[in-house]
Symmetry: C2
Subunit: 237 residues, 2 copies
Amino acid sequence: MSDVLRNIRIVLCEPSHPGNIGAAARAMKTMGLAALHLVRPQRFPDPEARWRASRAVDVLERALVHDCLDDALRGTGWSLACSARPRDIAVAEFPAREAARLAVERARAQPVAVVFGNEASGLTSEDVNRCRARAFIPADPDYSSLNLAGAVQVLSYELRTAAVGEGGPALARELATHEELESFYAHLEQVMAATGFFDPDHPRKLMPRLRRLFARAELAREEINILRGILKALARR
Amino acid sequence: MSDVLRNIRIVLCEPSHPGNIGAAARAMKTMGLAALHLVRPQRFPDPEARWRASRAVDVLERALVHDCLDDALRGTGWSLACSARPRDIAVAEFPAREAARLAVERARAQPVAVVFGNEASGLTSEDVNRCRARAFIPADPDYSSLNLAGAVQVLSYELRTAAVGEGGPALARELATHEELESFYAHLEQVMAATGFFDPDHPRKLMPRLRRLFARAELAREEINILRGILKALARR
């Protein structure tokens, strides 16, 4: 399942700040990505990169450093340039989610690269055009400048989600059975009638309202037991 | 459309590092979120927060500081605790994408809070239980520790995506018409036959292969014009 993620490399082109390299490594590793390629990093290796990587220093230690983007793309069957700026480029453009789906699909067969540019200047048009497609993160048009590690985090998250699914809900709880629930309602009605709060001859809409409340709450058996315990204790007073 | 995002506040509980507060503000702003609430920040305001916020300092300047989580949640109709650790908690749990959909749905009616814990220790069970539901980012089980700003970036991205959609493909290109494409194939076949590369009496599968290639390429009219220009130039030699 996450084997396909092993076939996806993250390429950072000319990153200026070693802290961002470390933060990108951490972002990758949280999503099961391990292959980091650096094109002409300004400072690498560097203690700040290690510090920001936290427990992802293994990703930094295995990172490969290249002189040019072509070297970092060697062997890939598909590559995705992440770039916020719309520009006159040759390749197809996809929002991050769709781009990640395509990348994962292609990574099942061949290595795929996801390429990010420099913090300040992004990728050049030339770099984008050396890739097979452009990905963009749909951001607020008034301020669309994610920091580098943030962009790597979003893409890595979308790649993982495309590979392994969006994460099901937590384990389904075992709900009370129909008859447990009906016994509870009968008990509740009886206690309310005994206190005089509920008048069976003028029921208004009290029971339907309470049924609606407890239906939404999706009671488990042990919760019904707690509620009936409270009712019993109250009735004894 | 993004009005609903104005109804969602991000709450950071006891953040240790001002840099993370700044990076979180930037992550929020890129996704159209503006309301930042801080519960007992260790250092705030702080120049490092401003530096990491980049052009999102306005979010920092309008941030509200509180003494306790309850104050930060005042007025909200729903709240989401972001916490990676499964624990014995009272509230429902959802993966980030589903949690963001629910948050946006509820934010159409009432203010909603999305709550993050301290960098090292996360949210306490008590804090999680003061919220209405828990969100988790589906990460690699072997290393699920996103940094604070990375987690804020992913949730903010999912909130924006839930509010405004996942971002359509870029503007559809205008493709060549059927007859332009057929004229091109006829031209191509004629030039190939004239050079002897294509033998109409022994066509093998050449034209179907070329048709498949060009169908995938989804040619635009101007691209057909370029290709026919090349064919003409070659035929003249």
